[in-house]
Symmetry: C2
Subunit: 113 residues, 2 copies
Amino acid sequence: MNIDPEQCHVEEALDIVVGKWKPIILLYLLKNGTIRFNELKRSVPNITQKMLTKHLRELEEEDIIARKVYPQVPPKVEYSITEYGRSLEPILEAMHEWGTKHQQHKRNNNVPS
Amino acid sequence: MNIDPEQCHVEEALDIVVGKWKPIILLYLLKNGTIRFNELKRSVPNITQKMLTKHLRELEEEDIIARKVYPQVPPKVEYSITEYGRSLEPILEAMHEWGTKHQQHKRNNNVPS
DNA sequence: CTGTATCCAATATGATACTG
DNA sequence: CAGTATCATATTGGATACAG
């Protein structure tokens, strides 16, 4: 470990990825490339419009995703992962793998969830 | 990307590492191996006893850190990272590196923080 | 020294109704 | 279709006092 705790930037990465629905939103965007608002809403069970909008705005603000509006009625808005946003992929994969193993670890040790 | 969003386990990993002071606590433990409660409290500026205790309990519960009590007066309690806890190190390093680059990315694009 | 307990403020999330 | 506005609840974290 060579990270100096005094000047660690783990938080900056966490800020992007933390939020009740952000990981799953990111996974859908990484998987599909481009997806419409309602399509995403249907894909993420139980998410409210408010939270979907909020998370999408935050990710857009950080240049992780792009928002494309088609000026038509009814409106059509497409979201996609940016080139830059794809740099998060290894981290999400690492967390997914660790999380999977952690579930197993807890089962092996009868740790109450 | 080959993670199925429907069965993603990113959350399980995030749960461990999310919390206002958890990353810096983990970094100190990874760096020092063993550290006493008050030493840790002094190392993490502004943290309250309540939050330090809470985070340490949560990490212990997940088998990331170990707590050793020396039955003496005044009490002495040492915290250390477990073998298993060390498996988080690559993820923290990856996030730290990504976070560092992200700060630079934002500066390059004049993104308001 | 290593905690707990209590009360309080801030933030995150949810439910629901409304709009161009 | 893709949002916004409003009100309510839940969770997180902080301040402070106290205890073995």
